[in-house]
């Protein structure tokens, strides 16, 4: 009786959801974040619903299964535009974004009220690598420090500290591809000494990201500049949301998302920029470091390159933009802080251009050469630049390193716009069995 009462009360809270993002899965996040009935959480331990969004590529399948088993019981799983694993009997598949929040609430209520079984564990309840227990001290190998207990190297100082000579035990670990602060799909092997990144190796590159269809249309025919600039501002606002969430500015991050959702030519960024400036985001938060050299900046292109002072923007060559008096905005710092200033400046500029273009009814004129929010798209689409992290992040503290990751839009461009299904390059495994570990 008491348990029933507790469960009924528990079902009244917002639904704690941990998203496992597959290809094109992140497009739904912005909608879910603004839903008052949903709480997106950063750790699977804090969730009761696992949302597998999009198709999970084969090489991330094993990671997804591990995340699945990390949710505390009772929990349930929903698949959004992806095929549920065949051995999960209660799995629900949803394809319509509009009904997803309701489906999440329903699944959670049913789970809490006992009308839905908790998802079964799919991996055996034992360490992925057995404890070897060898050596003089049971450390799992020969000699005092020779072991790899549980298949992982022991925390010990193999390298000198790269900052101040205070050598602490180094800790090597792998993170991703579903870590909330990484671009979707990315994983890395990282060595930390204390709070300091000693080495960083990107192992799985992020999924190619999809852009608004207007950028694809603009390569085929002229499109209204107002439309393309609003799409650009929206893309940057979504990135700003991630950066502010990471910095602990929950209210401001939601403001950025709300602005993106209701964006029009009458929108203005003034309030948000004033708040960020006054709250000390640019002075106090962990957004130091991550400075790109000219060659690195050119490799990534787009706003990150302009934040490093490179005056390159394909819009300068477009007659429509020239009519509006366009000239690229740039910063000089090239670091994380400069990139966030650049993002704010570009959003502002896009809104300004959109207003002007709407009033004068101006369209684009250049077809083959498009400046996307990710960077220039001429003959080739902007490609993945996540290898930059390997050079950029060593030497940074953990908070600064993650802020640098959030400030850099490194994922390459997908060959299809938002809202279309992924192509052959992202073939997914359908219906795993749980026995093939």
């Amino acid at each position: 009786m008491a348990v029933n009462w507790l469960r009924t009360l528990a079902s009244r809270r917002s639904v704690p959801v941990f998203p496992v993002l597959g290809m094109q899965g992140d497009e739904l996040l912005q909608q879910l974040v603004l839903s008052p009935d949903i709480e997106l959480v950063d750790s699977p331990r804090h969730a009761s619903v696992l949302l597998v969004a999009g198709e999970i590529p084969a090489d991330r399948f094993e990671f997804a299964r591990r995340v699945h088993d990390q949710l505390p019981s009772p929990f349930t799983t929903l698949w959004f535009r992806g095929e549920p694993w065949s051995h999960l009997e209660n799995a629900t598949r949803i394809d319509d974004l509009d009904i997803l929040p309701t489906a999440l609430v329903t699944a959670y209520s049913e789970l809490m009220e006992g009308r839905r079984e908790s998802s079964p564990r799919i991996l055996p309840d034992k360490p992925p690598n057995p404890w070897e227990g060898e050596g003089d001290f049971g450390q799992g190998g020969e000699g005092m420090m020779g072991g790899v207990p549980y298949g992982r190297p022991m925390a010990m100082n193999m390298e000198n500290d790269i900052r101040d000579g205070l050598t602490l035990d180094s800790l090597t670990f792998r993170l991703g591809p579903f870590f909330f602060a990484f671009p979707p799909g990315m994983s890395a092997e990282i060595t930390l000494q204390g709070d300091l990144v000693q080495t960083w190796q990107t192992q799985l590159v992020p999924y190619p990201q999809s852009l608004d269809p207007v950028f694809f249309t603009a390569r085929e025919r002229p499109v209204p500049i107002a439309e393309i600039e609003l799409a650009r501002a929206r893309h940057h606002l979504h990135r700003l949301y991630r950066g502010l969430h990471l910095a602990g500015l929950e209210g401001a991050s939601l403001s950025a998302l709300r602005l993106a959702q209701n964006l029009s030519t009458t929108s203005t960024l003034d309030g948000l920029r004033r708040y960020l400036s006054r709250s000390g985001f640019f002075r106090l938060a962990a957004i130091k470091g991550g400075e790109l050299g000219p060659e690195q900046a050119r490799r990534i292109g787009g706003p990150a390159a302009r934040a490093a002072g490179l005056d390159e923007d394909l819009r300068s060559g477009d007659a429509g933009y020239r009519r509006l008096g366009f000239s690229p905005v740039c910063q000089t710092g090239g670091d994380t802080c400069a990139r966030w200033w650049q993002v704010l400046a570009e959003i502002d500029q896009s809104l300004h251009l959109a207003r002007q273009a709407e009033r004068d009814d101006v369209t684009t004129s250049e077809l083959g050469r498009i400046e996307t929010p990710r960077g220039p798209w001429c003959a080739k689409r902007p490609e993945d630049a996540s290898a930059l992290f390997d050079e950029l992040l060593p030497g940074l503290e953990w908070g600064d390193a993650l802020a640098t990751v959030a400030s850099l839009d490194v994922a390459g461009l997908a060959d299809q716009p938002v809202g279309t299904r992924p192509s052959g390059e992202s073939r997914a495994i359908r219906g795993g069995t749980g026995n093939d570990v």
């Binding site: 507790l6 528990a10 809270r13 750790s43 602990g248």
Partner: protein
């Protein structure tokens, strides 16, 4: 027997529960006033969250230090209870009116470092461990400032007893007598309770830090302990700087509650408005700016006591 043993215990338990609930409600009120979307009704949501954690299983990680991992939230709650026990609600209504209650609060601050590290370390998990290390690295700087500031309020009282500290403010509250004290102590509070801009142990960049791996009842205890510690800190701040129960017209305990709520409101508002400080900048701020300011506060208090 009843008034010496049971009454203080009941009083502390009452404050743990009501205080924890008050923090949850007040934080949601602040959030909704600032336009941050929140779950459900403001009054019901904390209870729904508590019920959810009670129905959820406590998960395991790979080879945690079980005893320490389960004990750490309870120990932190016990420390918060210890802090609440020395907060006086009136000259006579105080759970334990120790002659060294200021020292006891100091020990709560110091032991919190041990417990928070234990919580992060014992999960045997990466992000929790970093959270624990961060707290230890920063904890010393908060505690030093706190000690200087509290010695400052003990000087005019010529006592280490919180009831005497309140009595010494009958003519002039310490917030005016020692203008640097309360601002410094509020920053200490944010650091010590790892809240808002100084939440480096359970931060978003660590997916919840020391709490990133916990679920179910242990998480409920941890959340309650954090809220209770914030209440205990507000009680100490109201006692040390805002004249405790002193005030006209209203009964003493009511004045105390109003002052504690005011301090809580300021802390929660700062928590919602400011970004999380970079650890490196935080250490620099503490040692280079705030610690010298706390020396000045102490010298100021000493001169005031001599005159």
């Amino acid at each position: 027997m009843f008034s010496e043993l049971f009454l203080p215990v009941l009083m502390v338990i009452f404050m743990l529960i009501v205080g924890g609930y008050a923090v949850a409600v007040l934080d949601r009120l602040v959030a909704s006033a600032l336009g941050t979307s929140q779950d459900g009704g403001i009054w019901l949501a904390p209870m729904a969250r508590g019920a959810w954690l009670l129905t959820q299983h406590a998960n395991a990680t790979e080879a945690p230090d079980w005893r320490a991992w389960r004990l750490a939230p309870a120990l932190y709650l016990a420390l918060a209870a210890g802090g609440l026990a020395v907060v006086p609600w009136s000259a006579s209504l105080v759970a334990t009116d120790l002659v060294t209650s200021v020292v006891l609060w100091g020990s709560v601050e110091a032991l919190a470092t041990v417990v928070i590290f234990l919580h992060g370390w014992s999960a045997n998990s990466l992000l929790a461990l970093i959270g624990g290390y961060r707290y230890v690295a920063l904890g010393l700087s908060y505690i030093l400032i706190s000690m200087f500031v509290l010695i400052g309020v003990a000087l005019p009282a010529e006592s280490l007893q919180f009831t005497q500290v309140v009595a010494s403010q009958a003519e002039l509250w310490n917030v005016i007598r020692q203008p640097l004290g309360l601002p410094l102590f509020l920053i200490v509070g944010l650091g010590m309770t790892f809240w808002g801009p100084l939440n480096l142990a359970d931060s978003t960049d660590l997916a919840g830090g020391t709490a990133s791996e916990i679920s179910g009842p242990p998480r409920l205890v941890w959340d309650m302990a954090r809220a209770a510690m914030l209440v205990a800190f507000s009680g100490v701040a109201a006692t040390a700087f805002l004249g405790g129960w002193l005030g006209p017209w209203l009964p003493g305990p009511l004045w105390m509650a109003i002052k504690m709520l005011a301090v809580l409101f300021v802390l929660l508002l700062l928590g919602r408005l400011l970004p999380r400080l970079a650890p490196e900048r935080c250490v620099t701020l503490m040692w280079v700016v705030l610690l010298p300011l706390s020396f000045i506060d102490l010298v100021w208090a000493g001169i005031g006591a001599l005159l």
